[in-house]
Subunit: 227 residues, 2 copies
DNA sequence: GGACGAAGTTCGGTGGACCGAACTTCTCTG
DNA sequence: CAGAGAAGTTCGGTCCACCGAACTTCGTCC
């Protein structure tokens, strides 16, 4: 009795799967119960119980005290949730004129309520987009996702010119700050030195003025280095 | 500690309030526990318990074995849910190109997930509509609703010309049938005789061909009689 | 006015999702 | 290599929403 549609899952299960997938989207750090708990904002005791059920439903592999991994079935469902989330975000921005720092919360609740039919309609109306407003890739209806090979701005050498691929943070304040500085997906940045030992980087957007970005910000910005 | 926003209510409470309001939108029949149960598709024992809680929250007036009535606070919240529902339906039709028989189920789940902010955005994008795709009036953000004074097609005398104001049914099959016959809000109908004692009515839409409508259909169609 | 059936209520029980507190396991460090 | 602290698990308990079965109330009709 394998689950085939994400609509058959409870909202809570949908959330766990998406959280687990997200936690390993951009790193290879093992996914642990406490990291999941932090992500979904629940106690570890709650998560621990949930992991047992997910294991039983064969959506994850998890041996006690060990790391969590999605099974193929779990991954497929998680990607369906990620697809929902990112399509909804894109829709909110393009059709309802949300700003990109407003979409996450709204998408978080809508993603559990929309039907597969509606997801497809949204996809169609938007012209089957491949990136969401943060630059994140949108999985296809078949569950295929192609990750841009981007690096964190934090590690980029001074003097480089880079293209912003995606902004990973969910904090609206930081997103607003980056947006007002012009650091958006698709922007071209000239990377300079920061104040020595400050951990900050000086960045010029297009041909505009320079901005100083500290590590919280540079960690959130993923770029490809241009030749 | 009076509730002010519909978002503070549980989905279940939201449903009860909307159901109670809907049950007295077009009739003055007393709203009873069993009618509510039928509407929300739950057992009367469940509804009975729920009514006790709603009473305690001062959203309804209900003395045991008696009829149910919304308090002013309950009515305001119910109207907010009706507003959500009808705006979402309109949005699904106009923006996502749903047909009018597809919108009800989708709106039913979305209405619990959207934020007040999103409701307002939808309202704005649609140009602050006053009727939904079925012709039902949409309450304003302030909770004002103006009912068209329409009558059921069932009672209209042969020979009249009428304007379709609204279609009240939620059965997709009936809605499709009426739509394909051209019986839509805004349509002009010439009402004729039906087969004697059949309970049916012959109706001509615009200048098209005639259709026979039985009572299930004519009961669902609300019209104003033109001079 | 009494009895019957329909409508409504009460009550015990279920399942999901969550919590805090107590306990176990793991890991790292002295 | 022992033990402390962090991470993870277990367990009892809560709340919500629902159900079925048993019971009560109401209206009506003979």
């Amino acid at each position: 009795m394998t689950v085939t549609s994400v609509g058959d899952l409870t909202p809570s299960v949908q959330n766990y799967l998406k959280a687990i997938w997200s936690l390993q989207e951009w790193t290879t750090e093992p996914v642990t119960a406490s990291r999941i708990a932090e992500r979904v904002d629940l106690r570890t005791s709650t998560v621990s119980g949930a992991l047992a059920k997910l294991t039983e439903q064969e959506l994850i592999d998890h041996d006690p005290y060990g790391a969590v991994e999605l099974t193929p079935a779990g991954r497929t469902l998680a990607l369906a949730m990620v697809r929902r989330h990112r399509l909804i975000e894109t829709f909110l921005v393009q059709v309802l004129h949300y700003t990109w720092d407003q979409v996450d919360d709204e998408a978080e609740s809508l993603e559990h309520a929309v039907s597969d039919f509606m997801v497809d309609r949204i996809d169609e109306v938007l012209g089957r987009p491949t990136r969401d407003p943060h630059g994140d890739p949108i999985p296809s209806a078949e569950g295929v996702i192609t990750m841009p090979d981007a690096v964190r701005l934090t590690g980029v050498a001074a003097g480089s010119t880079v293209l912003v691929e995606r902004i990973s943070d969910r904090d609206p304040g930081l997103l607003q700050h980056l947006a007002s500085a012009g650091v958006l997906p698709g922007a071209r940045l000239a990377v300079g030195e920061g104040e020595p030992y400050s951990g900050a980087i000086e960045v010029r957007v297009g041909d505009g003025a320079g901005v100083n970005l500290g590590t919280p910000a540079t960690d959130a910005v993923f770029v490809t280095v241009l030749p």
